[in-house]
């Protein structure tokens, strides 16, 4: 550390320290600061961790930028200030620690230390984590204290407040009985956290919301008076009102002087009196207003900041939750209390009402009975009917009322049995018998079993009768078939009565509820749905009055058994006074019987008979009602206006609705079998009845019942009782609506029927429920067979026409899946023929599921037109690809067969002078092998004009076996069909059309064939010499087939002096254009060579030509001149790949010299020339790049491969080598460039062979000669003859040439030149001419003459020379 301290660069505090006059402080001027202080400062200032330095005995303060915010208002005075002055308010805590460190003690560490610091104008509750470390000088003396510190106030407070909020959360789960209790519970929690909320008040508004009553408080005077005394209403009330209005918290200030007297400090922090409070609205979910306010005091040791406000927010939320719970609890409690009260009220009401009803009922029944009984003024039949109805129902009502009354009296303890001693078996039998007619009328069996009881029983006769009749009527009501069994037996001191039935039974879960008042078993299968649900409850009560019990056992669908056990002599009976009027029997049985008989009347269905005066114009109303009387009433009311059909339950109603399609259904809701809602659903599900309006009638009055009915889709709802006017008005409105709907439907029907396209509607199952007449005429299936269910009759048989069926199925599946779509599918008409239709369908979501609607159009004709177009197109495409006559005919019959569904097809071109004719499609052979029928049909057809069609009828004139059409005067086509195949007129005309297309294609192919013949002739003329000098082989492989000319060429030009010019060239491009260029260049080149120029000169001159020939630019040429005699090759290359020179004995070299630019690129190019040595048997290959160029393979690789093939094939004849080159180098899959190549084998130098003149040397001589001949590219045939001739000459020389008996050499020479072999055999002997005996001696020369063109025997002085000459073809 240098002596100079640079402070100004060390932040704001650095500048402040540098700028301060330190001379007046205990640590003196800055220049004199000890090194230790300077080191400490330079450590402290740059740090971003808050740091404080206390220096010297007075602990003068220095600190960095990060520390400065901790000081609040103390800065900047705190800089250079002694610590004890700066932190005076906390020094009683800090001083001792600092002193300890100064005195050489350990470093201190304090965590979350509470310090009251006045740094913002008030004494603030703050928390700190800090350590004091001594700063030592070199001698170990303490120079100062290093304070590392952090302000943890925020963290400490937020943790503490979170705890408070959590505790409040627990309040919400506690059951509190009222809003006030909830407030008290909340304040109880807050009272434990007075550091944050020193005091609190909770006010709840009264019901009017005017006055806020204090319900809880702490930290301030305990009761309301005191609270209001210390907290003036003037101060608080406006805040309360404001909070109540705005529903948002509000801060109030200036409380200190008012609350000072009442504030009860808890001393946790200090005794400072709060000056501010937060007023929070008390709200609860489900309550719109503000319930009250919470006044929470703010700690005097903390300023209100975001954190504090957030805390109040959370408190407010928790309090609301607690209040909500409390109010919900209160509401629930009040609700159950109200229900209990309601139940009581209902019982009272029933008792009162029942009682009140008896009087008017009596007054209704009485006069009615009087009127009916009046013989003086007898009623007219219609009036009698009405009054009987009144009487019957008055009696029924009376019984219901009595039962209710009994009930009420039992509950009130008002009904006491009047016991009699009686033969219970006899009583039971009598009652049962009196009810028997109702059982029998219901078609049920009645079985009884009476055991004698050992002694008379004590019962209330009326009650017993009610018990039994209730059980019996119940049994009949819920037993559709089977029987009822009643038994009475004794079981010890008890009589046991059992009533068992075979009815619908009671579901297990309903059994326990069976005897409850007003409970009705959920069942729709009773005979009647009438009843109040009090019968069995009454039975229980009555049995109980006898000290007995009643129970039921049942299984759903398996009947029920009710068992009543009563003591024969009950305690109750003993205590009760005996009734002396035991014989006074009530008319009770009559009422029960009458009611039960009426149910059975409902069983006899009143056929929904047509009225006699049935007027079809009148609207039809179907009444579905299980109550006979109600049915009768409705009939009487409606009949004057409508035709009325009747049904006794929902099931019958549904059947009638489906059959008669009424204009309106008027239905009861509660009915056996199928109730009104079930009927409604069934009607709506069925598209044929879905539109019929349904009006419900129900005794269950009230808004809820109406909503249920209307929700279910009923059109109207009429509660019982209803007035006649109301009924008629509702029915009329709905019938009119229905007629309107029906009118719309008829209009729609007419509209749909007028559509040209077939129209259908199908339901979600795919069943077709509606169609129009166009549909019927397209498919042949009319409306009489509706609905059409899948699988539809127009679907194809999957066995015989799987192709049609699969396309139909695919369309149906796609339609079902997508809900819409357009398809063209085949349909089988009712009469069996297949037609094609365009089906367009969409779907909508209906009541009963997805409904499909769609249209259908017959597109058979369009489709065949389209098919024909497509067939024509396909046919044209197939024909276009064919190039010669055979291919055209092949493509033609391949195209015709599938389009016309033919099983076989034959096309033929008759033979002519020029060719043998063509047959395609026949199994084998020529015209002679054709089945006579086909041959005759074809022959007949070709004599007709093109586009005519001749049919060969099947046996007996049934079906068509074949169709034939001419293609030209000498060609025709025949299609064979399977037996009984029918050919439509469309098929015929399509065949005629296609056949004429085929005829045209045939014509084209023929002219093409001619053109090609011309082209081939031409190109052979252009290609190159057909006669080559000996030793040459050439090959040409054009890239473009069938054209056999291209841009590549070769030429072999015999030149004066035995020289031979060899050229290979490659014009740009392929095909005819390139061939034209090639032809001109080839001719020019040939002319230039004949003129005598060397290769370089030729190429240079060719440049000039190339400029004149369009398209000749960039042609590459390899030009060479061979001098066979000297064995020299001169060559020059115009941008052409190198020629290959292979040498006998192996090895190949590339002729890469003298290479210059391609032709026509630069007229100033000077072409060079190179020479190469042709050794004996050397092979020269010139080629074009088609041989070596492959995509993706470097050219050099191809050239090297070529060289290797040449090197390994030097021993081959040139033609063999040429073939091998093509076989090995051209790719098997065809080549994309022309290939031209020239192979030249340098002929051996003339043969000169000396053999000893002995017979054993003849065979080796022949072998040598053969080898030489092969090297000279002499054919095997010629070679054999030459060898034979030379062999004979040699044999002659051996045999006859020597007179002296010595062996003399024989010299054989051979040379090949200009297509002829010159051979000579010379010996030293004397040639002996053939003598007279041709036997064998002269045969040798005959052989020679036979096989050679010229044979000369030249006898000479020193011996004989035989000269022979033989020409050979190249």
């Amino acid at each position: 550390m240098p002596g100079k301290l640079s402070l100004t660069s060390l932040g704001e505090m650095g500048s402040a320290i540098a700028g301060k006059d330190w001379a007046s402080t205990p640590i003196g001027p800055i220049e004199q600061w000890p090194r230790g202080l300077r080191t400490a400062i330079s450590t402290c200032l740059p740090s971003r961790i808050p740091m404080l330095l206390w220096w010297g005995p007075t602990l003068v303060q220095l600190y960095n930028d990060a520390y400065q915010p901790f000081l609040g208002d103390k800065h900047p005075a705190s800089l250079g200030q002694p610590a004890a002055e700066c932190w005076a308010e906390a020094w009683h805590e800090l001083g001792p620690m600092a002193d300890g460190v100064l005195a050489g003690g350990e470093a201190t560490y304090s965590e979350n230390q509470l310090l009251f610091i006045n740094r913002h104008g008030y004494l603030e509750e703050t928390y700190w984590t800090f350590s004091y470390s001594p700063i030592l000088d070199d001698d170990g003396a303490v120079q100062g204290i290093f304070v590392a510190t952090s302000d943890t106030t925020r963290r400490v407070l937020s943790e503490r407040r979170l705890r408070t909020v959590r505790e409040l959360g627990a309040v919400s789960t506690t059951e509190v009985g009222s809003a006030a209790e909830a407030c008290r519970a909340v304040l109880d929690v807050l009272a434990g956290h007075r550091t944050d909320v020193p005091f609190a008040l909770a006010h709840l508004f009264d019901d009017d919301g005017d006055d806020a009553a204090l319900v809880a408080s702490y930290g301030i005077a305990a009761d309301e008076d005191a609270a209001s005394a210390v907290l003036p209403r003037a101060l608080v009330d406006p805040a309360l009102r404001e909070v109540a209005t705005t529903r948002s918290p509000r801060l109030i200030s200036g409380l200190r002087e008012h609350v000072a007297a009442g504030f009860e400090a808890d001393g946790a922090l200090g005794s400072a009196v709060p000056d501010q409070a937060m007023v929070l609205p008390l709200t609860a979910s489900g309550h719109t207003g503000v319930l009250g306010v919470l006044v929470l005091a703010i700690s005097p040791y903390r300023a209100v900041n975001e954190d504090y406000l957030g805390f109040f927010d959370l408190v407010s939320g928790q309090v609301s939750t607690a209040l909500t719970d409390a109010l919900a609890y209160v509401a629930e409690r009040e609700r159950s209390a109200a229900l209990a009260e309601l139940d009581r009220a209902k019982s009272d009401f029933f008792a009162n009402v029942s009682h009140e009803l008896r009087t008017p009922l009596t007054l209704i029944a009485g006069p009615a009975a009087d009127a009916l009984a009046d013989t003086a003024a007898p009623l007219l039949p219609a009036q009698r009917q009405r009054l009987e109805l009144i009487q019957r129902n008055a009696r029924l009502l009376r019984r219901l009322v009595d039962e209710l009354l009994d009930f009420a009296r039992i509950e009130a303890g008002g009904l006491q049995p009047r016991f009699s001693v009686i033969d219970l078996a006899e009583l039971t039998r009598e009652i049962t018998e009196s009810f028997a007619p109702a059982v029998l009328r219901a078609g049920l069996g009645l079985e009884v079993d009476w055991s004698e009881l050992s002694r008379p029983a004590v019962v209330d006769v009326d009650m017993w009768e009610k018990i039994l009749l209730n059980l019996l009527s119940n049994a009949v009501k819920y037993t559709p078939r089977g029987g009822v069994r009643v038994s009475l037996a004794q079981d010890g001191d008890h009589a046991v009565l059992r009533v068992a039935d075979t009815g619908v039974g009671v579901p297990a879960d309903e059994l326990p509820l069976l005897f409850q008042r007003f409970h009705r078993v959920r069942s729709t299968r009773g005979r009647s749905h009438e009843g109040a649900g009090i019968g069995l409850a009454l039975v229980r009560e009555l049995v109980a009055l006898h000290g007995g019990t009643v129970s039921a056992t049942s299984a759903e669908g398996a009947g029920a058994t009710f068992t009543v056990r009563v003591p024969l002599d009950s305690t109750a009976a003993r205590d009760a006074p005996e009734d002396t009027t035991a014989d006074a029997r009530s008319p009770l049985a009559g009422a029960y019987l009458e009611e039960a008989l009426r149910w059975s009347a409902a069983d006899e269905p009143e056929a929904p008979a047509e009225d006699d005066d049935a007027d079809p114009a009148r609207a039809v109303v179907l009444v579905v009602e299980d109550n006979v009387d109600m049915r009768g009433l409705l009939t009487r009311l409606l009949r004057p206006h409508y035709r009325v059909l009747l049904a006794g339950d929902g099931r019958a109603g549904l059947a009638a609705a489906r059959e008669h399609r009424p204009d309106l259904v008027l239905s009861d809701v509660m009915m056996p079998e199928l109730d009104g809602l079930g009927l409604l659903h069934a009607l709506r599900r069925d598209p044929t009845t879905a539109a019929i309006p349904v009006v419900f009638l129900s005794a269950r009055a009230g808004e809820d019942a109406a909503v249920v009915g209307l929700d279910a889709g009923a059109d109207d709802y009429l509660p019982k009782p209803f007035s006649t006017h109301e009924l008629i008005a509702r029915v009329r409105a709905n019938v009119e609506l229905s007629r309107l709907r029906r009118g719309e439907a008829e209009f729609r029907r007419a509209l749909v029927d007028s559509l040209q396209e077939g129209f259908f509607v199908a339901d979600h199952t795919g069943a077709i429920v509606e169609i129009n007449s166009a549909w019927a005429s397209i498919t042949g299936y009319g409306p009489e067979s509706l609905p059409h269910l899948a699988p539809y009759p127009w679907l194809a048989d999957p066995e015989t026409r799987p192709d049609l069926r699969s396309s139909q199925d695919e369309a149906m599946n796609r339609l079902a899946e997508d809900g819409c779509g357009d398809f063209v599918i085949p349909l089988c008409h009712r009469d069996g023929h297949v037609l094609w239709v365009a089906l367009s369908s969409n779907s909508i979501e209906g009541d009963g599921g997805r409904i499909f609607v769609g249209t259908l159009r017959d597109v058979t004709a369009e489709r065949s037109a389209a098919l024909r177009q497509s067939a024509l197109h396909g046919f044209a495409v197939a024909l276009a690809a064919a190039t010669d006559v055979t291919e055209v005919l092949d493509a033609g019959i391949a195209g015709l067969r599938p389009v016309l569904g033919a099983s076989s097809a034959v096309a033929a071109v008759w033979p002519s002078d020029a060719d043998d004719g063509v047959i395609v499609g026949a199994p084998s052979g020529g015209f002679a092998d054709l089945p006579p029928m086909i041959a005759a049909a074809l022959d007949d057809a070709r004599r007709h004009p093109v586009a005519s069609v001749n049919a060969t009828p099947g046996p007996g004139g049934e079906g068509v076996l074949g169709l034939a059409a001419p293609l030209d005067g000498d060609a025709a086509v025949w299609l064979g069909f399977p037996p009984s195949h029918s050919v439509s007129a469309e098929d015929r005309s399509l065949f005629a059309l296609l056949a004429s297309h085929l005829a045209q294609a045939l014509l084209r192919a023929r002219s093409y064939d001619q053109a090609r013949t011309v082209a081939l002739t031409l190109q052979h003329a252009m290609l190159g010499p057909t006669e080559l000098p000996p030793g040459f082989a050439v090959r040409y492989e054009p890239a473009v087939q069938p054209l056999e000319v291209g841009g590549d060429w070769y030429d072999v030009v015999p030149l004066p002096g035995g020289r031979i010019g060899v050229v290979v060239g490659d014009c740009v491009g392929h095909g005819l254009a390139a061939a034209a260029v090639m032809g001109q260049l080839r001719s020019s080149c040939r002319a230039l060579m004949l003129r005598g120029g060397g290769p370089a000169q030729v190429l240079q001159d060719l440049d000039a030509f190339a400029e004149q020939i369009p398209g000749a630019m960039c042609t590459t040429v390899f030009c060479a001149v061979i001098e066979p005699s000297g064995g020299v090759l001169r060559y020059s290359s115009a941008g052409h790949p190198p020629a290959v020179l292979g040498h006998a004995g192996g090895g190949g070299e590339l002729l890469e010299g003298a290479r210059s630019l391609p032709l026509g690129v630069d007229a100033t190019t000077v072409r060079g020339e190179e020479t190469a040595e042709l050794k004996i048997g050397s092979v020269l290959l010139l080629y074009t790049d088609g041989l070596v160029e492959r995509r993706g393979v470097p050219l050099d690789d191809g050239v090297d491969a070529t060289r290797d093939v040449v090197a390994s094939g030097v021993d081959l004849r040139p033609s063999q080598l040429a073939d091998r080159l093509l076989a090995e180098l051209l790719p098997a899959g065809g080549h994309d460039d022309d290939v031209a190549l020239v192979v030249y084998r340098h002929p051996p130098v003339p043969l000169r062979l000396e053999m000893p003149g002995v017979a054993t040397q003849l065979a080796p001589m022949r072998a040598r000669l053969r080898e030489w001949l092969a090297g000279a590219e002499i054919s095997e045939e010629v070679s054999d003859e030459v060898v034979l001739a030379v062999g004979e000459a040699c044999a002659n020389a051996v045999e006859h040439g020597y007179a002296d008996g010595r062996v003399h050499p024989v010299l054989v020479t051979a040379s090949a030149e200009d297509g002829a072999l010159e051979l000579a055999v010379a010996d030293r002997g004397i040639w002996k001419p053939p003598g007279d005996d041709p036997g064998y001696r002269g045969r040798g020369i005959e052989m020679m003459r036979a096989f050679m063109d010229e044979v000369e025997v030249l006898p000479g002085e020193g011996g004989t020379v035989v000269r022979m000459r033989r020409a050979y073809p190249a």
Binding site: A1255, E1281, L1284, A1291, R1339, M1343
Partner: protein, 100 residues
């Protein structure tokens, strides 16, 4: 040895001796052919000579065949379009022997 000449009695399907000549017959080895034919003809009236595998047959060989043709019935089997067939035809041997 430029030829392998085998003679087998009654080897021909007709029951005659068969002489098969494989290779080249010239002045040097014509005597072998002579010997083989002589052996074959010693107790037969008819000898079959198979020349289909004969590569070369010069006038010395022809002479041998002529010589035997006078003594026995010779039947030559040759392959068309081969030099041997040409030689047989050119020599006039066909007038004396059966060729097939």
């Amino acid at each position: 040895m430029t030829a392998r000449i085998t003679s087998r009695p009654a080897a021909d399907p007709t029951g005659s001796p068969l002489v098969v000549v494989v290779g080249e017959v010239d002045l040097h080895n014509a005597a072998e052919l002579h010997d083989a034919l002589a052996t074959a003809a010693s107790n037969a009236e008819r000898v079959v000579v198979d020349l289909t595998k004969t590569e070369y047959l010069d006038s010395a060989g022809i002479r041998v065949l002529f010589a035997h043709a006078g003594r026995v019935r010779l039947e030559l089997v040759v392959e068309d379009n081969r030099i041997v067939s040409s030689v047989v035809v050119v020599s006039g041997l066909t007038a004396l022997v059966d060729v097939r």
